[in-house]
Amino acid sequence: MKLAVFLIFMIFFKVPLLWGQAKQAIEVFPSTPFYQYIIYENLAIFWIAIIGLIVIIRMKLREIERVQKLGLDKTDHRPGVPLPLEDGENGGDREGF
């Protein structure tokens, strides 16, 4: 009797569940609320970082444009390096510059 009840239970309740599971959609995103929270939080931080980088790029670009407007970018002079000597100059004063 117990065996018959067990078999009926298996056939009518558990076996169809196997097909039911097979037809279920495959999870393509973590289903745990904890992991979902972490993912969305990281997405927000990622956007903050992007906005921050864009602001830095904009500031840098403004500075470059300002320097270009003043014509300072045209010189070949690198800070800390002596200026090239003119013809006839011996550079005596510049030694150790």
């Binding site: 999870e27 969305y40 997405l43 992007i50 980088l53 864009i54 670009l61």
Partner: protein, 354 residues
């Protein structure tokens, strides 16, 4: 970070002064249409994302009909951030093709293909074809029932071409029908042949842009346009645009991870309401317009022939547009460009909604 010693070490061995001079002197014209210049850079950036995420997925993907579907499920469910990299690869491909179309229509309507830039148009057009084939081959790698049916339809359509059609169909499928052989073939295309062709054409395309300089629309040709240095001004602007594109791609990939259907079964009936990817919808919808038989001839063959002729005409457009070649305004070809664009948009929309 100061790398002066490293720079000096490099400069002692290699003379890069010509390259530095070129980068320093390269100018980009500023005008009301210069926004479209950024689409080219976006495509290069998106292709880089595709290469990186593709290589990561290739570590775990198994290109075999029995294991392909299972390996993708394992990538998505078991690997750390696997779902994210797969989603990023999927959405990266969608956005690459989207921006390739935007770039193509921008070049078409601004007549940037005109003499001496014909080779730029041809190389870009082939790159678009490669990207579309990238999409199709990558779609089959999923080996689910929808991908299987879509590739069966797409490869079957190529078979409708007269003379060469059956050969192309058999070559793509690796047999009579879509099987495990097709999967292996598409995998080879997706990870070796197409990336090599893409890198070669992209390098050629970028080199040609350097040779010819940035294109200026005919209407602005005579005007004395202000010039912006490419380095560093345009490079910084490009970087800002890339950051936004990266943010958008990551956001879409996180919020809309692509579904995985049931494993492909060659004996199962085709799923209902099956539709190809969005960039094939205009072709799919065009095929639907044609009846099964026209004057005793196969309607599908006529449709495929007309579509091929339309695409080929677009490909050789720089050779047909004589007025633009001579630097004159050509309203007819602007109209043709608008017709192509509207046809693409309307048919894609109808295909999507139907």
């Amino acid at each position: 970070m100061n790398c002066q010693k490293l720079k000096d070490w490099f400069d002692e061995r290699y003379d890069t002064s010509a390259l530095k001079k070129f980068a320093g002197e390269k100018l980009v014209p500023s005008h009301r249409h210069d926004l479209w210049y950024y689409t080219g850079g976006i495509i290069v950036f998106l292709f880089s994302i595709q290469f990186i995420t593709g290589m990561m997925l290739a570590f775990y993907y198994v290109p075999h009909a029995d294991f392909a579907h299972k390996s993708i499920i394992e990538i998505v469910t078991k690997l750390n951030m696997g779902w994210f990299f797969r989603s990023l690869h999927h959405w990266g491909s969608q956005l690459t093709i989207f921006f390739l179309f935007v770039h193509l229509f921008a070049v078409l309507l601004l007549k940037s293909y005109r003499k001496p830039r014909e080779l730029l148009w041809f190389s870009g057009f082939i790159l678009l074809g490669i990207a579309v084939f990238f999409g199709l081959s990558g779609y089959l790698l999923l080996w689910d029932e929808r991908a299987f049916a879509a590739v069966r339809v797409a490869t079957g359509g190529s078979g409708a071409l007269p003379i060469v059609g059956p050969f192309i169909k058999a070559f793509l499928r690796g047999g009579i029908d879509v099987t495990g052989e097709t999967l292996t073939r598409f995998y080879a295309f997706h990870v070796s042949i197409l990336p090599l062709a893409t890198v070669f054409l992209m390098v050629l395309h970028v080199l040609l842009v350097q040779v010819h300089g940035m294109s200026v629309p005919l209407s602005l040709k005579e005007k004395n346009l202000p010039q912006t240095p490419f380095f560093p001004n345009v490079v910084y602007k490009d970087m800002a645009v890339w950051l936004v594109v990266l943010g958008v791609t990551v956001t879409i990939a996180t919020l809309f991870p692509p579904e995985i259907g049931q494993k492909a079964d060659p004996l199962a009936p085709t799923p209902e309401n099956i539709k190809p990817e969005w960039y094939f919808l205009f072709l799919f919808q065009t095929l639907k317009l044609f009846p099964g038989e026209i004057l005793g001839l196969n309607g599908e063959t006529i449709a495929i022939l007309l579509i091929t002729a339309g695409i080929f005409a677009l490909f050789i457009l720089p050779l047909l547009d004589r007025k633009s070649r001579l630097g004159e305004k050509s309203t007819l070809f602007t109209l043709i460009g608008v017709v192509y664009l509207l046809y693409f948009l309307i048919m894609t929309l109808i295909g999507y909604l139907s």
